[in-house]
Amino acid sequence: MRHLHNIGLYFIMINKMFHKPTKWSVMKQLILKDIEDLVINSLGIIAFVSFFIGGVITIQTALNMENPLLPNYLVGFATRQSIVLEFAPTIISIIMAGKVGSFITSSIGSMRVTEQIDALEVMGVNPLNYLVFPKAVAMLVYPFIISISMFVGVLGGLIACVFGGYSSVDDFIAGVQLDFIPFHMAYSFIKTFIFAFILATIPSFHGYYMKGGALEVGKASTTSFVWTSVSIILINFILTQMLLS
């Protein structure tokens, strides 16, 4: 029953987010700040994770292809498919649920605890439009991170492959280019846009409606990570079924 109530409240929050818009001159600053906080500041960790996971995918694929009949370029092909279809859009989004999600929940939750949200409300500002809407807009830039993650992941795979002696640069690149289906990129970016909205709104919901003090801010961050990840995984399943089957 509580979960149903929360789901209803979440959609009410989404609806309220578009009411009483904040002045554009103020909103513009908020969006730019959120792009910096949520997207630009995540580039380092995303590049790091993508590079090494790309490498690991390549090494594991190469080590599991012991049959001499399998061509060497399949390592590049498998790396590309894993990274483009699943790793970059889904796994990076789950990592972002931890990084960006907990940041959003704790910052909005702290504002709730210290009455800053009440202060906005008594000023006549719609706090949801002021706090959540710019985050949702800023996360429209999120696919940019995912495309970087794809590139760095494949690069990591290439370097691991060549330096590990599993195949040549030419074979790996031939595999990366093999049977490229442009719709897979579209599928990946459709997922990314939806995950971006989830990443901005579910953590905001947990921060905005939290009750209590500093301890509850920590609890809300944990809950927010759990529910954001669960939502991403469920929606990933539904979208994959809808778009690829």
Binding site: Q116, M123, G124
Partner: protein
């Protein structure tokens, strides 16, 4: 004029406000006093439209609060300044940006004029050369003064303060109290302050409303608070050893 008529508010079937009546006038500093849990903050949050009340009416001038449309409420809120107990300054903005926010949100003044106005009010609350400091770098008293500056930057008609001198040393508390009093008289604002500090009552209270268990137990001028025979009020007033000693001295 601000008027409260038979105001009721409950949470989970527990009545917190039980038919409060009150009237507040411009240029007058009114203090709502009472012990913790007496309903002071709930009353203030009802006045600020942060809580929806169950029964009764709140009149801002001739406007009934619960009959206003969203747009009318927005206009009304632009005439209200609020100082929260913990100051509620925005952590991500420096002091100047905090003060400028209401002007940026609700006026079309050019940026230079907004900065000038912010500097005028910061000067008014005796804050000079602190514009670029972050709230976390300011002392408690300084934060309260920034909160007051932010509350008055829009030339409000109503000023609400929730325990404005809580957590401050006695000297700074008096400075804050006097500042609120001066601003109230200077701008002819209706000021309502929640407090349980008897020093504030004696310093700045024009009108005192005493709440106990959600009921208005007593209302009067500060001069009369020591003369009342209402035991709930006297228990509250003389709960401090200092005031008991003063009474004993005067009774000798």
């Amino acid at each position: 004029m601000l008027k409260i008529n038979q105001l009721y508010k409950s949470f989970n079937n527990i009545e917190v406000l039980k038919g409060i009546n009150a009237e507040f006038n411009p240029g007058e500093t009114s203090l709502i006093i009472g012990q913790s849990g007496s309903g002071k903050t709930v009353l203030l949050k009802c006045l600020l439209d942060l809580y929806r009340y169950d029964k009764g009416d709140i009149y801002y001038g001739n406007q009934k609060l619960n009959e206003l449309s969203e747009n009318e409420k927005m206009i009304l809120k632009s005439k209200i300044g609020t100082v929260f107990q913990g100051s509620a300054l925005f952590d991500s903005m420096n002091i100047e940006e905090n003060v400028m926010l209401p002007l940026k949100m609700f006026t079309d003044y050019p940026n230079d004029e907004i900065v000038d106005r912010a500097n005028v009010v910061l000067k008014r609350v005796n804050l000079i050369n602190v514009n670029k400091k972050m709230p976390s770098e300011a002392s408690g008293g300084m934060q309260k003064r920034v909160a007051i500056a932010r509350a008055i930057v829009n030339n409000p008609e109503y000023l609400f303060c929730d325990e404005p001198n809580s957590g401050l040393d006695p000297k700074t508390a008096i400075v804050i109290d006097n500042l609120i009093k001066e601003i109230t008289t200077e701008y002819n604002i209706i000021t309502v302050i929640n407090s349980h500090d008897m020093n504030s009552v004696m310093e700045i209270g024009d009108k005192i409303i005493f709440l106990k268990d959600g009921l208005k137990e007593w209302e009067g001028r500060k001069e009369n608070i020591f003369k009342t025979d209402n035991t709930a009020v006297t228990d509250f007033v003389y709960s401090s050893n200092l005031y008991r000693k003063i009474r004993e001295t005067f009774n000798k």
